[in-house]
Subunit: 294 residues, 2 copies
């Protein structure tokens, strides 16, 4: 069992840290929100004031933070994780951030003899609580081997996507497909409505044909065909439109920086941006169908 | 066994008619191309000069034509199918055409006491030859019941999508999702390439995650992950880019006429239009990835 420093005890981080405590690890948590730290303590964890302090005492450091700037700060600031961790410490950043920051931080960590992985997740708060997250992992094989059993205590599917930053790359590529295909499915249902074709009929046909996609068959944006989808509970999230917009913007940042042309990805980002601006950012991302319906 | 008039013996129509002959029907074919008619005769069919003549002698008329204008002509022209067919004749249009024409023709047929179905297919020339097409059928239940066993002799999946025009509606809604999601998957692979994420890694992750879609898992636009996909044979069609563009334009026509907003569908039509204009119209539609790669 390891001594784990866990930085970022938000909606995702807290249940992940709790699962590590249940698995028998000694978890020391850091968060700007005292209430989250108290919940960790109630679950059997300990509180530490600063990320650097937690890192200096840990075998493994896990971070789960909102954006690239936070990751850069806690890892690279004076007295931060990279400066404070002992050589050989395993660092796992589970935040979803831009590829460039993930690679910069990994490079700085490697230069100090640390083992760094980017390991963004999918599965949402439900998956974090149930311990069924998917981890998309980038970084050296040596670090992946050490991390795998720990990630398995928080998740079900652990995939090594290649070198540093590739976990982030895999996540934004996947979520760009998801964002686009959710709009595609929504537009098709709206067109079907206008043409007098029933939702269930379109579902029955497309779900068994070349239009089949996860956005339709597992997360259908109209109520009825898939009883578990958020459409059946007034689009309560789930995965919020704001989170989808964040990922689509990260994909666009990566496309611009790397020189890839992703015209449909850019269009999807614009549509989700307008949807979020309409005040629906905390609604499930499949609610975009109501925005498309107008 | 029925006497069937079959109008349009092209790449799709000829093998469909041949399957009806194999099933024991008496098939009389009409086509502007004498070579196609000869092939039908060689398979045991008969030749007739005009659609109206074939219709006047048939229990069932099947049409498989390139576009709405052809359908309008052969059904509605003086001496055409609607004027010449005996009351009670079953008319099945398997062409992929605009919803408005399908509904206009069905209305004219109904007014003359004929039973009319629109029944566009998916499955391509391979499916037509093997008799494994999917038929998406619009029209009255009474006509569907009579048509079902005949369609089963040319196809595997026969779905009744509702009233007149709903077969066309289902097909364009499905294919709009397909056209958009193929571009989405292609953009994701191109972005992955630029970020140094291997094709197979992205496939392994997205195919089991929320980016899963038919365009990726059955028709992958990069060679390797799905050995049967056209990407493995230099994008030999398959389903041509020109055919995809046709369907995306039909979807846009239907959206404009019916008042649906399908911004991503419009964007997909533009991208396929540019791809076809680049001289690749006869290439498989998954070849659009090469165009996106630039």
């Amino acid at each position: 069992m390891a001594r784990i420093g866990f930085i970022g005890l938000g909606n995702m981080g807290l249940p992940m840290a709790q699962n590590l405590i249940k698995a028998g690890h000694q978890v020391e948590g850091v968060d700007v929100n005292p209430a989250s730290v108290e919940k960790l303590k109630a679950a059997g964890g300990a509180a530490v004031d600063m990320p650097g302090v937690a890192a200096g005492r840990a075998d493994v450091v896990i971070t789960m933070l909102p954006a690239g700037q936070h990751v850069r700060d806690v890892y690279l600031a004076p007295g931060g994780i990279v400066e404070s961790a002992n050589p050989g410490t395993l660092l796992i950043d589970c935040s979803t951030i831009d590829v460039a920051t993930a690679r910069d931080v990994a490079k700085a960590a490697e230069a100090r003899g640390l083992l760094m992985l980017d390991a963004p997740v999918s599965g949402g708060v439900g998956g974090a609580t149930a311990g069924t997250l998917t981890f998309m992992v980038g970084g050296p094989a040596q670090a992946f081997v050490r991390a795998e059993h720990i990630l398995q205590q928080m998740g079900k599917t652990i995939v090594h996507a290649g070198g540093a930053g590739n976990g982030q790359a895999a996540k934004i590529c996947n979520n760009m497909i998801l964002g686009i295909s959710m709009i595609a499915v929504s537009e098709a249902f709206v067109l079907a409505e206008q043409l007098g074709l029933e939702h269930q009929k379109l579902f029955d046909i497309a779900s068994k044909s070349s239009g089949q996609c996860w956005a339709m068959t597992s997360y259908c944006p109209v109520p009825g065909p898939v009883p578990a989808s958020p459409a059946n509970r007034d689009y309560a999230a789930g995965f919020t439109a704001a989170m989808m917009l964040k990922d689509l913007k990260l994909a666009q940042d990566a496309a611009k920086t790397s020189g890839a042309v992703t015209e449909m990805g850019a269009n999807a980002a614009k549509i989700y941006s307008r949807y979020v601006e309409s005040g629906e950012g905390s609604r499930d991302f499949s609610g975009v169908i109501r925005f498309i319906r107008g």
